[in-house]
């Protein structure tokens, strides 16, 4: 949920009890004000009646024409002070009880006194509450619409730099050149956010670059000592005085060195691809490269009795660095051979948009990390776990995409060629 939607909701939720409270307060204020003015009006009538009493000679009862005032002569002195009372009186025409405010007063007259009973219809509580509820509701609706409009406006204006920054960050990819500058905004918080982010990204970018250079330099520097060791082993095995045990040791040494050398070469290749050192592009026939790769693994295919089914629905020519594309294909084929079963199959299908290579074999345990570095399944002892990482890196560097899925007991890799062909 958006920040502003949430704020608006909170504002709206807060306004509900506030408006309720306001409604109750209104009710009491209004009733008390109404009573006050009603009482004034009743007292007014009482004064009129008192004046009238001064002109009156007899002690007959009196009932005002509107039926709201009534007085009656009672013997004896005045006993009660003025008092007001709310009551309900049944109205026969409306057939309901209606609220009235009544003033009782006693005015001395001759030997006795007149008991005054003045009443006035007051507003029905229900009507009053209805009115208040309606007006509060109207206020609430207006307030809500107002809040929405305000938040929309804030969204547009005030938070714009924030969303700019957010968009930039979500598109940010480490190691890529970007010319984005966080523009200055009128809001201090956003400004300091942008400044901090700018600093952070610069630092991260620099560290990342250093790290990459380190990997490349380290791998590069290692080539020479490995080469020296390799040459010494090659000379050592020429010796006539080696016994079986020594030879066995040399073989193990040599095998470990081979692995180191290959690992090193792969790491170097990875950092070179990352550093975009393969800039030379040319038109490469996919079919030719696939056939070459397959011929490289001919021995392995024969020994594992793997059937290769090729179906070329088209002969696409892609614009790519040839060396990289060959490595990509070799690694995919190698992967399909290595993770295959005895007597299995490899199916390759090529059309203008994509290349699909699938191989029989067990499903990969963690398909989500299949393209990550040093991910390998236990059973393939020879693997160093960089083959598919190199594939991914080449795919990224050449604007293609690749995906993996396991379907119908086959590991299936789909390589989508780049868009611009």
């Amino acid at each position: 949920m958006k920040l502003l939607t949430r704020t608006t909701i909170y504002y709206a939720l807060l306004s509900v009890p506030l408006l309720l409270l306001a409604g109750v307060t209104f009710y009491f204020i209004i009733t008390s004000e109404l009573n006050k003015s009603m009482d004034e009006s009743l007292l007014n009538t009482k004064n009129h009646l008192e004046n009238y009493l001064k002109t009156k000679q007899d002690t007959s009862n009196y009932s005002a024409p509107d039926g709201d005032s009534f007085m009656r002569f009672l013997p004896g002195p005045v006993q009660q002070a003025i008092n007001f009372k709310d009551t309900l009186i049944f109205n026969s025409s409306e057939e309901e009880y209606l609220p009235f405010r009544i003033l009782y007063a006693e005015v001395p007259f001759g030997t006795g006194h007149y008991h005054l009973n003045i009443r006035k219809a007051s507003i029905e509580t229900e009507d009053l509450i209805d009115g208040i509820v309606i007006s509060i509701f109207v206020v609430f609706v207006i307030l809500f619409i107002g809040l929405m409009a305000l938040s929309w406006w804030i969204n547009k204006k005030l938070w714009k730099p924030f969303y700019n920054t957010l968009n930039f960050l979500s598109a940010y990819k480490i190691g890529t050149k970007n010319n984005f500058t966080f523009g200055a905004t009128a809001t201090a918080e956003f400004n300091s956010l942008n400044v901090s982010l700018d600093k952070m990204l610069t630092r991260i970018g620099r560290d990342y670059q250093k790290q990459k250079e380190f990997t490349e330099n380290a791998a590069h520097e290692m080539q020479t000592p490995v080469a020296v060791m390799q040459s010494k082993i090659d000379l050592l095995i020429q010796s006539k005085n080696l016994g079986e045990e020594e030879m066995h040791l040399i073989e193990q040494l040599s095998s470990a060195l081979q692995k180191l050398s290959y690992l090193n070469r792969s790491l170097l290749l990875l950092s070179k691809i990352e550093n975009k050192q393969f800039s030379q592009l040319e038109s490469v026939s996919v079919q030719v490269v696939v056939d070459n790769s397959l011929s490289l693994y001919e021995s392995a295919l024969t020994s594992k009795e793997i059937t290769v089914n090729k179906s070329y629905l088209a002969n696409p020519v892609t614009t790519i660095n040839r060396g990289l594309f060959e490595i990509l294909m070799n690694n995919l084929v190698q992967n399909a051979v290595r993770h295959n079963v005895q007597g299995g199959a490899i199916n390759i299908e090529v059309d203008n948009k994509r290349l699909v290579i699938e191989n029989t074999g067990p499903a990969i345990e963690s398909p989500e990390s299949i393209f990550e570095r040093f991910t390998r399944s236990d059973q393939s002892i020879g693997s160093i776990g960089l083959g598919l990482a190199i594939v991914q890196e080449i795919v990224n560097a050449s604007g293609m995409s690749i995906d993996y899925r396991f379907q119908q007991d086959k590991n299936c890799f789909t390589l989508h060629f780049n868009d611009y062909q």
């Binding site: 590069h220 040459s231 090659d234 081979q258 170097l268 030379q280 392995a300 070799n330 690694n331 190698q334």
Partner: protein
């Protein structure tokens, strides 16, 4: 056969030198750009092995210089700068081959042999070892003048053995030779055995002596004087 080796790493220089001297080549060495450049100017070589990153300059400039002087020397770049661009650049400048470090000495030796073959016998390149005759240009092999039909891998293997005859070549060197750059060849080790077995069988069937002997654990030796 005069070979100039320009390489700054002393141990590697010594290793290569030792291996090549056994081939009865006349090998001279240079440890930096200046010395290498001087030697190529003052003497004629059949083959120049040049490293790219040298103290005092880039090996590519020596390649350029040799080409400018229309030198007949075959040039092999040996470099730790294992980059395709360098390779392409080197070959465009006129180098004949490119070998990235680390490499097997047997591989270097085979490359030198192939290069010299191409340079010396223009069109007419033949390798004869006792009863075996190899015609690299059309990839045919004869034993006692009878043709032996080999697969591409078997043919490459034979050439490799012959280039490194009377030497122990390790299985990993063979694997690397047969599978090329960047290919992960550990899994290929097992197939070497069957390639060698088939090659031996085909040669012996045509009446060839069994020159290939197994060196326990390590690899093979193609012995010409049984």
């Amino acid at each position: 056969m005069k070979v100039l080796l320009i390489e700054d790493e002393p141990e590697l220089r010594r290793g290569i030198l030792q291996y090549l001297l056994q081939e009865n080549y006349l090998v001279e060495t240079a440890e930096d750009f200046k010395k290498g450049s001087q030697k190529t100017k003052n003497y004629n070589y059949d083959c120049v092995l040049v490293d790219l990153s040298l103290p005092g300059g880039n090996g590519l400039d020596i390649v350029k210089e040799l080409k400018r002087e229309k030198s007949k020397a075959g040039i092999i770049i040996i470099s730790a700068k294992d980059s395709l661009d360098d390779k392409i650049k080197g070959l465009e400048l006129g180098a004949d081959d490119y070998l990235s470090k680390p490499f097997h000495l047997a591989e270097l030796n085979a490359r030198i042999k192939a290069l010299i073959r191409r340079k010396n016998f223009e069109g007419e390149q033949k390798i004869e070892i006792n009863e075996i005759r190899i015609q690299p240009e059309d990839r045919r092999v004869f034993v006692h003048d009878t043709e032996v039909i080999l697969t591409a891998k078997e043919f490459d293997l034979l050439i490799y053995f012959v280039s490194n005859k009377n030497r122990v070549v390790s299985k990993s060197a063979i694997a690397e030779h047969l599978s090329g750059d960047y290919a992960d060849h550990f899994n290929q080790l097992d197939f070497i055995y069957s390639h060698v077995k088939n090659l031996r069988k085909k040669l012996v069937e045509k009446g060839c002596a069994d020159y290939i002997s197994t060196v326990y654990g390590i690899g093979y030796n193609f012995k010409t004087n049984l």
